[in-house]
Symmetry: C7
């Protein structure tokens, strides 16, 4: 990751982020940890792919190669 991407990940730790995955899934949850492959640990995560039908997932480890994009909280 570029230094700037790493900085954004670091600023997002313990904040709620939106993660879009290959295949169309969208996950929202607190970013707890990441590495340079974008492997993520999230907490209090929900699958919000169908916005009117969120599914609670709790703690999650996401394999980085599935990540399309990550959106940090708006007011960083």
């Amino acid at each position: 990751m570029s230094e700037m991407a790493t900085k954004i990940f670091e600023e997002s730790l313990n904040k709620v982020v939106l993660v879009q995955l290959k295949g169309g899934k969208t996950i929202r949850g607190k970013l707890y940890s990441f590495d340079q492959h974008m492997n993520l640990v999230m907490e209090d995560a929900e699958d919000i792919t169908e916005s009117e039908n969120a599914k609670k997932l709790g703690t999650l480890v996401v394999r980085g190669d599935n990540v399309v994009l990550i959106s940090p909280p708006p007011n960083r």
Copy 2:
């Protein structure tokens, strides 16, 4: 994997985890072993993709490159 992801995997050993795979399959079972590629050994596993029609699979080896996300048990 980040140190934190490894810690979560280690804490989940011998506990029931949820694994979502590329292609849409969801597996629930006891995590018996893992490696740094997220190759997994699971026991008492079930394919719960169709929640009303779980299929018992018993012991499983999952090839890590199929893993999208892993969710450890809620009360770790």
Copy 3:
């Protein structure tokens, strides 16, 4: 593969295993050989994707990168 995954493969040699492949195919047959990429040699294999219409395939070499999961025989 983790040591544990290798152990399960070794214990499954010459026993009937279930192999699920990317794309949705399921193969059942005797595991004759494997390597660390999960390339497999199977014997007396059948394509049981459509359970009511099994197709005999005999001896098979499966390219490991197609493997999603492998399930050893229940009573190992």
Copy 4:
């Protein structure tokens, strides 16, 4: 990236670019940072896949392996 591609990325910093992703998504936003894998940081980004229904995403980190093409602003 070729020297020319890098030059175009550099000239596009802090300008609005269009990014097309694998799977069909189109993102428009200010390019804030990039690296040689085309990992991108964007700001004030919107998902404009459905042009009549843009979704505000704010700051984004895009994993480079999802990028199909990037179009810098017309008047560079």
Copy 5:
């Protein structure tokens, strides 16, 4: 490939094999040559994906990364 897989390939040289490819195509033909990536040369090959409508292809070079599985002749 494992030693055993290589042995099966070697025993299948100049014999008719069945090759299933990613995307669902099935090719039948004489195995003329192979390498460790499963790149194959086949002769008198036919595309038998639609069994009632085989298409003659003659000599073929198959790029190994497309191979799902290979089935040697039944009476080896």
Copy 6:
């Protein structure tokens, strides 16, 4: 790239080429730069996937792993 492929790319610089991408998109535009991964910079590019509905894209950077084939101008 083979020496011949590189030669064709070089001869096509500043000429209009047709680029077909994975997923079915076709881009037409002036080839401005390329590298050995087939990362491309194009100018005055149009998305001509739907031939009766070309979309102007202007300058483009195409990530090489999306390229299926490139067709230089007919009269080189």
Copy 7:
């Protein structure tokens, strides 16, 4: 490529070959050049995916990772 595959490619130079690509496209044209990744240069190429509606493409560079199989001319 195996020595045999390379030999078939060499014998096919300047002859008409059939190339099947991932995604289902079929190209017919004169093989002008190749490298060990199966990157190809073709001349007088046509997209014959829809056999009753061939599209002339002229000279082509095909990125090798898209190739499924190549069929040299019948009477080599």
